[in-house]
């Protein structure tokens, strides 16, 4: 289970790096979303996978019986997902506004705040 997750994380990171190297900012943003999901999976897997044993306490007991899943990484992932969602929503809005005002998504053409390159 961990090995499979590790492979998926690797694939996600590879795909996201590929996307983030594109000139189009939208592609960069998609890459960022994938990378954010990869990071969440890393945290989730770091708590060790225990299939079929939810972190629940049976009725009438004071503590969980037997092996249960680690609840902490799940809480961390939940926090990270919420924060990541907020940040990505902001970035999407920023990208939209930038496109509306600058009329381009090509990051090579976004040079307003930086000096122009001489030989272009």
């Amino acid at each position: 289970m961990e090995a499979l997750t590790a492979l998926i994380v690797g694939l996600l990171v590879a795909a996201s790096v590929y996307l983030m190297l594109a000139r189009n900012f939208m592609r960069f943003l998609f890459g960022l979303i994938l990378l954010s999901n990869a990071a969440n999976l890393v945290i989730f897997a770091s708590g060790r996978m225990t299939p079929g044993s939810p972190a629940l306490v049976p009725y009438g007991a004071d503590a969980p019986l037997g092996e249960v899943g680690n609840a902490l990484p799940q809480a961390l992932v939940l926090t990270a997902i919420v924060i990541g969602f907020g940040l990505l929503a902001f970035t999407l809005a920023l990208a939209f506004e930038t496109y509306r005002r600058l009329r381009t998504m090509d990051s090579d053409k976004m040079r307003l705040a930086e000096p122009k390159e001489e030989n272009q």
């Binding site: 897997a45 907020g86 970035t91 920023l94 005002r101 600058l102 976004m110």
Partner: protein
């Protein structure tokens, strides 16, 4: 009692943000923000006094004992950063009274600003790694808002680069946290010290340490990860760029100092050796980049990068003297750098631009402003007896003591080039006559704008002089802070309590 002292510096800015948001349509919003900043400073000083008395102060939120709950902890380094954050916050809150137009206040300038201060303070006070990530995000999202507030085309362009690179660094940091948790099973920083030392495969620890170094390195704008900084810091309003320049990169440096003295000390020969050369290149590239610029704020932005190199060098050399210099440098730099950005704002108001080719004559027409520029500028370059001299002196002395002559030479050489950039600003903005024949006298800005903008400049310049002339107590403070970093046993025992 202790927990209140630790919570207040974070809670006050948050509460202020809420009230300032409710009052954003009214003029009272800015006064709420100012009052909140004063209250934060009082709370921070109260915490400082407690730390001076006890050495390290810690509190467990909701009484969940460490390492399970969230810990807030303040040692010497943490608390001095909190105080300096509150001082910078107050300075920029006063400055904003003059600079920030009503249009931006209505968009929520003050709530965003206070949230930023809360995020920065939280990052300095937390004792939990995942909590640190959350504070980074609080800081990041409010800085995004402040950066693009106003919505000029330049700001949007800068915003894209700032947001994109900072988000990547955050994700690297977050993955690092995940992997570290997977190896050790704890996220409490004090607990991690022992847990990381007990990990069998120390090679993996070093790999994760490098992920942290990259994540924090982007935030701190070290070579070769700094490209977002000169692309963005010259675009927002001057109050915003001053608080960014003073505080944001320093959070990265602080986090690096914390993690690489408390947790990742297993392979100092590898990690800190990399950091030495990264620091040297950061210093050089930053200062050379500044030499190529001809805009007031762009020059200052590149100088942030070059100065960051000195601070990380203090960490990288990893001797008591070097860390002491690094801590001293942090404090000195925040005051000086924020002040220079504030001065550039006044220069822009009076002379009409920040492009040095299009302004001039400030020395003749506004000699007081010129004097207020000279103090932080020469302090930045390291002229005795200003604060920067002592900061540079400690760092250079530490590298000479290690017989690292190349680093000592680089540090001195960068100081020389810093003087070059500062004299360039001086010559072009202050000395030469204004190209358009304008006389940039102080009354070109009305009193209600100029006076609040000048108060923090004078205050911060006075602090630079005080640190410069009476460095003894500050150096002693930095010495204790460095001692606590190198031997965090008090930090660990205060956080974890006495365990059976």
């Amino acid at each position: 009692m202790m927990s209140w002292l630790l919570v207040m510096p974070i809670a006050i800015p948050f509460a202020t943000a809420v009230f300032a948001w409710l009052a954003r349509m009214r003029p009272s919003g800015r006064w709420i923000s100012l009052a909140g900043s004063i209250a934060s400073l009082v709370a921070s000083v109260a915490l400082l006094l407690a730390v001076l008395e006890h050495g390290v102060v810690a509190a467990q939120m909701s009484n969940w004992d460490a390492p399970f709950g969230i810990t807030l902890v303040a040692d010497y380094l943490g608390v001095v950063m909190v105080v300096i954050t509150a001082i910078t916050g107050l300075a920029t809150a006063i400055y904003a009274l003059g600079e920030i137009p009503q249009r931006m206040e209505r968009l929520g300038y003050h709530p965003l600003f206070q949230t930023l201060i809360a995020g920065v303070t939280g990052a300095f006070l937390t004792g939990d790694l995942f909590n640190l990530y959350v504070w980074f995000e609080v800081m990041l999202i409010s800085s995004f808002g402040l950066l693009v507030l106003g919505g000029s085309r330049e700001q949007l362009d800068a915003g894209i680069k700032y947001v994109a690179l900072n988000l990547v660094s955050t994700l690297v940091f977050l993955s690092g946290i995940g992997l570290l948790y997977g190896m050790t099973g704890t996220l409490n920083m004090a607990d991690l010290r022992e847990a990381v030392a007990n990990v069998e495969n120390q090679g993996l620890v070093t790999v994760v340490a490098m992920m942290f170094m990259v994540g924090f390195g982007v935030k701190a704008a070290v070579f070769p990860l700094f490209f977002w900084l000169p692309a963005s810091y010259h675009t927002p309003s001057f109050a915003v760029s001053a608080v960014f320049a003073g505080l944001l990169t320093k959070v990265g440096v602080y986090a690096m100092m914390r993690m690489f003295t408390l947790v990742f000390v297993g392979d100092v020969g590898f990690t800190h050796e990399i950091l030495i050369w990264v620091s040297a290149l950061t210093m050089l590239v930053g200062v050379i980049g500044a030499a190529a610029q001809s805009d007031f704020r762009k020059i200052l932005s590149f100088h942030i990068i070059s100065q960051i190199g000195y601070m990380t060098l203090g960490l990288a050399l990893y001797t008591p003297l070097a860390l002491m210099g690094g801590v001293f440098y942090l404090v000195h730099h925040i005051i000086v750098k924020a002040n220079l950005f504030l001065v550039s704002g006044v220069a822009n108001k009076l002379a009409g631009h920040t492009d040095l080719n299009r302004i001039g004559g400030l020395y003749k027409s506004s000699p007081f402003l010129a004097a207020m520029f000279v103090i932080p500028a020469f302090s930045l370059a390291g002229f005795p007896p200003l604060s920067g001299f002592w900061a540079k002196y400690l760092i250079v002395k530490a590298s000479i003591e290690l017989d690292n002559w190349i680093i000592a030479f680089v540090a001195l050489f960068v100081g020389l080039l810093t003087i070059f950039s500062m004299t360039k600003i001086w010559g072009m903005a202050f000395w030469k006559p204004h190209p358009d024949g304008i006389d940039p006298t102080p009354d070109r800005a009305p009193d209600h704008v100029r006076v609040p903008m000048m108060i923090p400049i004078v205050g911060l310049a006075a602090m630079t002089i005080v640190i410069g002339f009476f460095p003894e107590p500050f150096v002693q403070f930095a010495e204790i802070a460095a001692g606590q970093l190198l031997d965090p046993s008090l930090y660990v025992s205060t956080v974890l309590g006495v365990r059976p």
